[in-house]
Amino acid sequence: MIDWLGPEEWQAVRLSLKVSATAVAASLPLGLLCALALAKGRFPGRQLLNGLVHLPLILPPVVTGYLLLIAFSRQGPLGSLLEPLGVSFAFRWTGAALAAAIMAFPLMVRPMRLAFEAVDPGLEAAAATLGASRLRVFATVTLPLALPGVVAGAILAFAKAMGEFGATITFVSNIPGETRTIPTAIYAFLQMPGGEGAALRLVAVSIALAMGALLASEWLSRRIARRVAA
């Protein structure tokens, strides 16, 4: 595979995997929390939260990317706050991960929310009468029963992060080795004379990774569903 892909292409594949994995891992706790709040919570501002979570799905990606650029540039309101702490997103691979995480967030939350809604509140009440605190009820009853949906959300988010283009290129540009992920690399190769070969190879890799993720998610959720239901 290394021989088959040129070093630049290989670099883009590795970077895409790193960016997507980081995006999913870092946004998973917040995603779970949002899904749980939307599924079980009754609080003022619930509709606002719902809208906020879904916004990246509806906004043009370039708008999301531009907003991130404004917020996280060195002089931006959040960028200037984080600068002294040594945390920087602008034109870094971490920025690509942030953009991917935000764009993938609605796809992550939705299946998780549906899975939490499907857990019988009666089972949670039963666990509470048996002495389980809210946290223990969540860890031992709610989460295990919702696990197929949680896994589906995480894999969907990973696939979306692998394909994120608009917000990424707007926010962190297209720097080889730092922010050039598979989609932006394909775009760059297509701008170059004689780059079609490299672009096509990356297209093949994209298709293989997407299919792999899909099959893995199917297999995993079927396995978990069997374990939970049987």
Partner: protein, 354 residues
Amino acid sequence: MIAIHVKKRLGAFDLDAEFEALPGVTALFGRSGSGKTSVINAVAGLLRPDAGRIEIDGAVLYDRAARVDVPVHRRRVGYVFQDARLFPHMSVEKNLAYGGRHDRDRVIAMLGLEGLLERRPAALSGGERQRVAIGRALMSDPRILLMDEPLSALDAARKAEILPWLERLRDEAGLPILYVSHAASEVARLATTVVVMEAGRVLRAGAVAEVLSDPAAVGMIGAQEAGAVVRARIAGLDRIDGLTELALSGGRIVLPGRLGGIGTHLRLRISAQDVILAREKPQGLSALNILPAEVTALDEGPEGVAVGLLCGSDRLLARVTRRSARALRLEPGQGVWAIVKASAVAPDDVGGAV
């Protein structure tokens, strides 16, 4: 000692129930929608009352005036739900241990769960599921057991399988039990105290023998369901004819089947519609059970007249038509003969001793 007062407004439904109960099984009895389940949900902390006070054996779980509201998971109530609510992703063993391992071996032995431990809830029958649910509640070391129609989802055969377990629980575990039911036969068989509820109010509360034999309570319980509970001792067995002779305080009656060993004490429900009254001692009758009794009270309802009887020290209940009541000139203090049809006492109505 259990003292419960729960006030709660749920839409158009207004719950305001207050009662006290002695140790043993307290049956909350009434039609669906009378507020029975809301009361035990309030005891469990699953329903927050608008006002009231809930005290179980000295522990105050809720007191609006004193601003006490113990969270569900610290109340130590064992709740057996109508639909068992076992965790589907855990084995029976894990389900049992979820709330603790109190008295594990004894609970497993008492409920006969040894052979089920490795199984998943999906592989259990309805009756097995309820037994596991009861075991799970007991192993959490509760201060009270709450049971919400634990038998209503089961067919007659499964009910007959579970009832003896519940009787053992009552007699061996020494734990107060609040038992929601709309079946008079279950109440008669298990309860020490009965609380009759209707439309969110307590109509009547008292000892089971007293409430179920009170003619005035027939209207609340339902004419078909009404019947007194008596204690009996097995005095003899007729192996040839397959009969059991029972000694009541006021005489002897004979029932079909072998109900236990000689000397065993039983609790017997005698349905009001299976008791026939006569002024003279009947002769040449196929029914074997003729008991002398005294009329203690009469209550006229839309479906007939409920007659309270004292037979020895036992209270019985009979139901007759208005015309019969006139013809027999029934009035309190009058002596009559009560005829109990031998086949009328269903096996379901015969319970272990109290």
